[in-house]
Amino acid sequence: MTTNNFHRRDDANTAPQSRFPVRELSLLVVLAVAVGAVYLAMGSAYSTRMLVEASCYAILALGLTIQWGYAGQFNAGVMGFVALGGFCAMTFSVPVNPAFWDSPLPGELAKVLGYLAVGIALVFALSRMTRLGVPSWLRTLITVVIGLVVYMVVISELREVTDAIESQMGFIGGFGLPVWVGWVVGGALAGGIGYFIGHVCLGLRSDYLAIATLGIAEIIKAFLKNSDWLTRGTATVSPLPWPVPDPGEVGFTLARALYLSVTAVMILGIFFLLNRAYNAPWGRMIRAIRDNEVSSAAMGKDINRRRLEIFVLGCVLMGLGGAALGSFNSIFDPNGYLPLNHTFLVLVMVILGGPGNNLGTLFGAVAVYIIWIMSEPLALYVMELIAHFGQASFGWELPSNLESRALQARVFVIGLLITVVLRVAPKGLLPEKVKHHD
């Protein structure tokens, strides 16, 4: 038992492909039944809402499956990109705050940004000093010192302006643009930040990337939470406009169905593009890079560029999904971005569905979201049942905070789900396929 395991061949991996996708179809049927059951139990408005959220999560999961499934990059900071998307959706769509634009503060803000630009240029110039024959240790020293001074100056100027904004008009308000602008910018911004992180961290082993992204997500959250002048911080901004008529105008179910059709179209598009890319030589190259970077480089593949490409692509999807989710929730609350909901849940979706398999990921997203949402009433129901049973037959004392305890179990359940899926179906329910050529 101990020694025989290590050359095990993965059966799921090399099993001959069946022409008829039995597995896919049966899973879809199960899913459809589950959705139907939810509709029956919870009513259409609530269930449609659940589907919309599941679809937003599906976009996030597709982003993660690109990074992790295709390329083996483990991004443990999905939350940060989701938050960025939400932020853009908010900033671009909420109404303009005339109090801010009519005051002298925009000018001062611009001035600080100008300082910043000058400072960056200065530091950049200093870092090139070796060209003038300055020894490199001296250059480093000067650059660091000047950099710190510039930083301190800019930051204290910025503090002044932002304090003024906060105390005089709360926050700078939005741009009042159509919702989709915010979504596009959200995707772009997330991609941009992803580019920056990727540039620094992608050369390293994937564990390090996980740690770094975990940190980045917290930093993004800390920034959004503490920059009250920009985001109102914990005071939250709501309501956010929708790209389709909102429930106040056409009723819950219809409004949500419309929203769902928007996200569904987005998913279809993304899905189509991803499938095409994955099955093209691009996908093969990405898998090769995931597998062995040294020899990919020797085979002429620009691994840094490709890794970056994929990381950014994933982040863009996360930003986009985050924006759609943010608009749908109609509130921007930086405090509400939690690793459990926005990183680990997405992770579970991907590993359950099958990393690297787009269809599996979609399936995982919807299935896991249903489980997640339904687990609250279910957990309570089960707890109550047990408690009542215990009370009736053994005379138990009911603990006062039954609800609270039952819901703690959710964290536990997510953890359990991760470990059990990894153990039972390490490649997910719909594993990535090995391409067979005849």
């Binding site: 038992m1 101990t2 020694t3 025989n4 050359h7 095990r8 061949r9 993965d10 059966d11 090399t14």
Partner: protein, 234 residues
């Protein structure tokens, strides 16, 4: 009683069978050499003997005792040593530590055998404080061989020990093998330098597609034109 006696061994990875009934037996004072085309199942056979493979059918006996389901570290206790074809050193341990690990079960051996191994392979002495991962291909091969010798096994399984070694060391290795064998250690090795290897072999096994194709003394196989043409490269 043969030192090692494998009869009708079937086995493979996962569902697929690679070995389809291989027989292989050597006495305590013999050198056995396995040759054959790439992918014939030579390495797989060594792994089967060394307990790293699911043997589905057949028996493997060491001095008459069945050993097929024993964990690897038990086999080492029973006196077997193994040099795998790939991944055969501990890259982050120094050369010396690599060798020490070879004698993990016989700490008493360390001192004596260390100097012996350094004597066999002088470059190792020079590099003894360097991590094995930084060695050249040939030097790694020496470490791998040295590691296996450290435990003074009674049966030594070698998977292509001369691959990547310069001619000088290739002959050196064959000399060592003869020397060790003379001290009463049974040797079973896979070789692609088939002519040189068969020249010192008491027994030769030609494997193809997971089955014995020819089994005879080394000299006889060398002399057999069929063998030479299709397996030894003319």
């Amino acid at each position: 009683m043969p030192l090692l006696d494998a009869r009708e061994v079937h086995g493979g990875y996962g569902g697929m069978n690679i070995l389809n009934g291989v027989d292989m037996a050597i006495e305590a004072d013999q050198i056995g050499v396995i040759v054959g085309p790439n992918g014939a199942g030579k390495s797989t056979m060594l792994k089967a003997i060394f307990g790293q493979l699911n043997v589905t059918q057949g028996d493997i006996l060491l001095r008459g005792e069945p050993i097929q389901n024993l964990p690897t570290n038990r086999l080492v206790e029973l006196g077997m040593g193994f040099v795998p074809q790939e991944h055969n050193v501990f890259p982050s341990l120094t050369v010396k530590e690599n060798l020490e690990m070879g004698a993990f079960l016989k700490p008493g051996n360390v001192k004596r055998m260390l100097s012996k191994v350094y004597e066999f392979f002088p470059p190792l002495h020079e590099k003894r404080h360097q991590p094995a991962g930084e060695l050249s291909g040939g030097q790694r091969q020496m470490v791998a061989m040295g590691r296996a010798l450290m435990a003074e096994p009674e049966l030594l399984l070698l998977d292509e020990p001369t691959a990547g070694l310069s001619p000088k060391y290739m002959y050196e290795i064959f000399d060592r093998v003869k020397e060790v064998n003379a001290a009463g250690v049974g040797i079973l090795m896979v070789e692609q330098n088939a002519k040189q290897a068969l020249a010192i072999a008491d027994k030769g096994f030609v494997l193809a597609a997971g089955q014995n194709r020819f089994t005879d003394t080394g000299q006889a196989l060398l002399a057999d034109p069929d063998v030479a043409k299709s397996f030894l490269g003319g």
